[in-house]
């Protein structure tokens, strides 16, 4: 008998686990896979370390900051800033055919870029920033106004609206085409007002620190322990049944599997699941290891978002496997490392939108062939906006919506979960709660914050009130 069972050892589940174990609760995290991390993970192949998921954390703030999601998260989990070796970005960019906007963790760079590229919009942009400031990224965003519509009220040049939305949607847009203004504001803050950083050793460091702490605090982590069924009695979870038939009991269950996915585990395929339609947006990502640092090829950007027309199409590709009209190019080398503690080899990671159904319909041989085709198409598209790195590629790996579905369990391989969010984490059952992607917090910091807040609200506070 546990106090809390947590489904999924991704960022939100691990953070929730640390938080609960900190106060002596008996906690067990159940993970279907042999590795932790879910969407954000890492692996070793041919002697090289690869990261998946995280390009960079958003919401970064320099050491000593006390406000905002990152300092608050570290405090709640009792980690010191230094443990993560946070390494800030150098600079990033949004590039469309008609304009380029560089930005960094200091808003003044973006402001001066807007003065340069869109002189008539400079004042409007400042007013938009003022409208965004009240969304502090701690409270979950509410409100249904279209971000595109609200941005357009401030900014009259549609190209600038598209260029600002592109990074926001790529790093957290769960719905096609648009998002609501509140959610966009949280994303805007996390990307343009706070900014990007990377643990020097990549995502593995965050996961290792979380797991080590969780175990030190007496938490139990079970790998290869997928949950097959959540068994209900009356208005509550009676027990959880694992893939291997083992039953586990707990006072409450915190699921990071996603809303629909959790309802399916409860055997509620119909009504409760239909309240939320699954997300449609998935990615192909191709990782290229280079024989030199990207800087040596004249590529100085930490993250570069590109789009090949004046209009940014944030949608599931209808007729093709992969849509390479837009993409994200992340260079893990291009962060401000100290003492040479960054990646040892040059690396570029490229992400583009992909169609889950088409990828999963492929047979084994076709699938491998299409991975190569997609990789070459993404490269060819990206080199219109970054120096041609192709002669320098020494190793590659590519993952698809199928891979994302495998490691996250998300329906449709939807990276950011379902478009409608379950903000309070409650379900139809008294002792079942959700955390993670379907909660409205985005990014790695958001995912961990979701785990912490749901653990506080639903598992710790009730023990105080009792």
């Amino acid at each position: 008998m546990y106090d809390v069972l947590i489904i999924g050892a991704g960022m939100s589940g691990l953070a929730a686990g640390v938080r609960l174990a900190q106060f002596g609760l008996r906690v067990c995290i159940l993970e279907r896979h042999t590795t932790i991390g879910g969407l954000n993970s890492f692996y070793r192949r041919d002697g090289r370390n690869y990261d998946v998921g995280l390009h960079a954390i958003t919401n970064f703030q320099p050491k000593g900051s006390k406000h905002g999601p990152l300092p608050r998260l570290l405090r709640q989990l009792r980690f010191s800033w230094d443990e993560f070796e946070w390494t800030p970005q150098l600079k990033s960019a949004v590039v469309f055919p008609a304009a380029r906007l560089d930005f960094s963790n200091d808003l003044t760079m973006l402001e001066s870029e807007i003065v340069r590229a869109f002189p008539s919009q400079a004042d409007s942009f400042r007013r938009l920033v003022d409208a965004i400031l009240p969304y502090d990224g701690l409270e979950q965003p509410r409100g249904r106004e279209s971000a595109r519509a609200v941005f357009a009220q401030y900014i009259s040049d549609p190209l600038l609206v598209e260029m600002l939305l592109c990074p926001l949607l790529y790093y957290g847009g769960a719905a096609e085409h648009d998002t609501d203004f509140a959610q966009a504001s949280v994303m805007f803050r996390s990307i343009f007002l706070e900014g990007f950083a990377r643990p020097a050793q990549g995502v593995r460091l965050i996961l290792k620190l979380l797991v080590r702490r969780f175990k030190e605090l007496g938490g139990e982590l079970r790998l290869r322990a997928g949950v097959r069924r959540i068994v209900i009695a009356g208005e509550e979870v009676h027990h959880v049944e694992l893939d291997d038939g083992v039953d586990l009991q707990a006072n409450s269950v915190l699921s990071s599997a996603g809303w629909c996915e959790t309802m399916q585990l409860c055997g509620e395929q119909s009504a409760l699941c239909e309240q939320v339609s699954p997300g449609q947006l998935s990615f192909v990502e191709s990782i290229a290891v280079l024989d030199c640092p990207p800087q040596a090829l004249g590529h100085p950007y930490s993250v570069l978002f590109f789009n090949d027309s004046g209009r940014f199409h944030w949608e599931k590709p209808r007729h093709e496997l992969t849509d390479v009209r837009s993409g994200v190019v992340c260079s893990p080398n291009n962060f401000a490392y100290v003492d040479d503690n960054g990646p040892k080899e040059g690396m570029i990671r490229m992400t583009a939108l992909a169609n889950f159904d088409r990828w999963t319909a492929l047979t084994g041989g076709e699938y491998e062939q299409e991975k190569v085709t997609a990789r070459e198409a993404i490269y060819a598209s990206a080199v219109r906006f970054v120096p041609d790195f192709r002669p320098h590629v020494v190793a590659t790996d590519t993952f698809t919506p199928k891979t994302i579905r495998h490691f996250t369990g998300h329906d449709n391989g939807a990276v950011y979960g379902a478009p409608q969010k379950r903000r309070d984490g409650t379900t139809h059952l008294r002792n079942l709660f959700v955390c993670g992607s379907d909660q409205g917090w985005v990014g790695i910091v958001g995912a961990m914050m979701s785990g912490v807040v749901m653990a506080n609200r639903h598992c710790l506070q009730p023990t105080v009130a009792r």
Partner: protein, 86 residues
Amino acid sequence: MTADEIRDEILDILSDIVPDEDLTALKDDVPFREQIELDSMDFLDIVMELRKRYRVQVPEDDYVELATMAGTVTYLEPLLKDAQKA
């Protein structure tokens, strides 16, 4: 525990929760929040630590009593009078 011991214990808990804050100059009758960075999530930590260390339950309605060091000590004194410092 005596009032002084309780005060030390609260300082110890605070140093765990907000390790980067200087607690040496903390004034007893001024709200914590005006002196150090402490939000509602952190208050939950104080309450949970008291529960973990001394099995003292502070219901949510009583959180207001914990606004200052003086208030916290006064509130906890009867609850912790038989407790031994951990």
